[in-house]
Amino acid sequence: MTYVIIGAGPAGVVAAETLAKTDKGAEIVLLGGEADPPYSRMAIPYVLTGIIDHGGTHLRKQAGHYEALGITYRQGIAKGLDVAGRKVLLEGGGEQPYDKLLIATGARPIKPPVPGLDLPGVHHCWTLDDCRAIEKLAHEGAHVVLMGAGFIGCIILEALVERGVKLTVVEALDRMVPRMMDATAGGLIKDWCVQKGINVETGTKVTKVERREADDEDKLFVDLDTGDQIAAHLVVVAAGVTSNIEFLEGTGIEIEQGIRINEFLETSVPGVYAAGDCAQGPDFGGGFNVHAIQPTSTEHGRIAALNMAGRVTPYQGSLQMNVLDTAGLISTSFGDWEGGPGTEMAEVLDAGHFKYLRLNFKDDVLVGALSLGRTDHMGVLRGLIQNRTHLGPWKAKLMEDPHRIMEAYVAHAYA
């Protein structure tokens, strides 16, 4: 049996390890597209802040880890798939035969259709190569423009601020972290950033970037749709991501927003599975969604591998959750925090101290939550949501005072 995994991010690595433990003696090939050993993109901002070196991003730290498990790491990028012949076609002409395949190709940053984003000095912050380029340019006092204040943009923002750059953040939508935070929390995050000396332009688009000679190092000129122009030494583009699935065109594998997988994480082609940021899998609400987050990718990796190895394991669905540290202000979001018809919302706001908590209920069950300025016991929000805990009399108490969430949890967990 030859298992092939395309993609050496968290989903691919966890899948390879799970296969090695579950189907001992099988051949396992882990295909990675980059020269660096398997690493965590999430950890790159912490390289920029100096908390870790490049090696600190590696998913596994022990030398010989993959070899010891019988996993063969092969560098190569998939350019196509021969489904009938069970072969991965590689860029450069090679191929990799498989008996069972896991597609864990992840995502890549979107380059919006703005002239000048290919110029020297304009970078994404996605790969370790990007990281090396940013490290060279983002010195203390450097003028930096960050395009995008979404979740990933805000993590990069934190790292750039730590490096002491003079930062302008440009976000096309009307608030910061629009997909993870409501208007109240997004507004507070913006106020916090402005207080920290960051120039935040929400509801603003970058229309063009040009590079020309200048008296100082700021050779990039960033035009905004407000008519303003900002001179910069570095432009970082964090305007969203998209799944790496184009190479599957013509294979018959069903694709919607991502690779459509069933509860066993198998695609529409038997023997071919998908996991992580490229996969559109069962979600907690009963639908199918791409949840491009670390916990989902490792769960996908493990459960796909169990099914590939013949251990039938249904996936109960991913729950959207995020935690973000924006220049020291910590926020979280879980599940259906937006709510809507049929749900009830309780919130408590202390804007002066940048504290906010919002809970969304359906009947007496918590279905979503947002928080700002809290770090203690945040995981219970996941616990309560994903267990569909009936809160009974605690529902009314929480509607009155959402702060009592941990008490409500302990009361139901085992007290």
Binding site: I51, E299, M321, G379, A411
Partner: protein, 159 residues
């Protein structure tokens, strides 16, 4: 045989000796806010409930960590944070459905119960045996574990 913390809320008087012992052992200060075990006070019922990590088999924190900074101590069964590797991303704090991994903004790392390497200070400090360190098989943690197991995204790490 592995041992585990057994918590009997009925015996807890809310004296907080466990929190003081934990924070002193792990953070060097007598400060309940830095404790990895927390006593919850149910005012309206006059009840106190000590609460900390069960070292669950599912180990959501360990599996969610993007930099391999949470490891299983095979001697104690504890999931331990390696502060040298932790980058402070906090993903484990939202992945743990028990809410027992917390971020410490003073150090920029996460903290959780590590059973003090097999000699937990909270149990030693408890004057009423509300917290004891006993053979893992007969602890009262099962109810909490079963409850949390429902969070299981399919079969988790134990397989």
């Amino acid at each position: 045989m592995l041992k585990a913390l057994n918590i009997d809320p009925g015996k807890c008087t809310g004296c907080l000796q466990c929190e003081l012992a934990c924070s002193f052992e792990n953070e060097g200060v007598f400060n309940p806010s830095k404790s990895r075990i927390k006593v919850f006070n149910f005012h309206d019922q006059g009840r106190f409930v000590p609460y900390t990590c069960t070292q669950c088999d599912e180990a959501w924190c360990m599996h969610a960590c993007p930099v391999d900074a949470i490891k299983l101590n095979k001697g104690t069964g504890a999931k331990e944070v390696d502060s040298n590797l932790c980058v402070g991303c906090k993903v484990c704090t939202i992945a743990c459905p028990f809410g027992t991994v917390n971020y410490n903004s003073a150090t920029g790392k996460v903290i959780k119960c590590d059973l003090c390497g097999g000699d937990p200070e909270c149990a030693k400090a408890c004057p009423t045996d509300a917290i004891t360190y006993v053979d893992a098989d007969w602890t009262g943690l099962d109810k909490m574990r079963q409850w949390a197991a429902k969070t299981d995204a399919g079969q988790q790490a134990t397989h």
